[in-house]
Amino acid sequence: MTTLHILYGATWPKALERLFSPGDAILLAGASVALAVSPQSPMQHFLQRVGTGIRCLALDDAVLARGLSKHWPTNITRVSDAEWVALVCQHAKSLSWS
């Protein structure tokens, strides 16, 4: 029973760390894509703590719209809108963080 955590806001929701279970995934949408670009961001620290097994993805359109491609980290895969729908289907639940 895994959860897809979908982030929209520009601020890392610290409470997510307390709700996160093994197998859950994080999808960055909208303004939240900015959380990925700094290696020192709270989100990147969380990903490092949880380990390599965690899936973290981002909506490609949200990245391109903000001109962030040049600064994009290698540990976060970019997905299309169609892949977003597939991700929602792959997880038992989706939880939105705004």
């Binding site: 909208g30 303004a31 359109d61 949200a62 719209a65 903000r66 001109g67 600064h71």
Partner: protein, 117 residues
């Protein structure tokens, strides 16, 4: 009247950034001396190569290129927030001056009005 605009919103998450830019240009048109400070997610407004058409929106970065036409030439960025995003001033589309906390406090002090969005 000296007006300080603090742009702190993501460029496309909602309409705040666009509305603030519109308000700033109106103020400049009516003779206000406008300075512009970018903070937090607002710094993303300054990145080049924005493909905002993917979201059906006008590019903030391209509109900001027109600031000199409105005599808005004092553009600043929050140095600490820039670092938190892992960016440098050279990554930005406009020439900006990066300010530390003391310098930003001084900037607020010398303006008559401040609008932050």
């Amino acid at each position: 009247m000296r007006l300080l605009i603090i742009a702190a919103s993501d460029p496309y998450a909602h309409q705040h950034a666009q509305e603030l830019l519109d308000a700033m240009l109106v103020a400049a048109t009516f003779g206000a001396e406008v300075s512009l400070l970018f903070q937090d997610a607002g710094i993303l407004q300054l990145l080049p190569d924005q493909s905002s058409e993917l979201l059906g929106r006008r590019s903030l970065s391209r509109q900001l290129d027109a600031l000199p036409l409105f005599d808005i030439e004092r553009v600043y960025v929050d140095l600490n927030a820039l670092g938190q995003l892992g960016l440098k001033t050279l990554d930005l589309a406009l020439p900006v001056m990066a300010l530390d906390s003391q310098e930003m406090a001084a900037l607020v002090a010398v303006h008559d009005q401040v609008i932050r969005a």
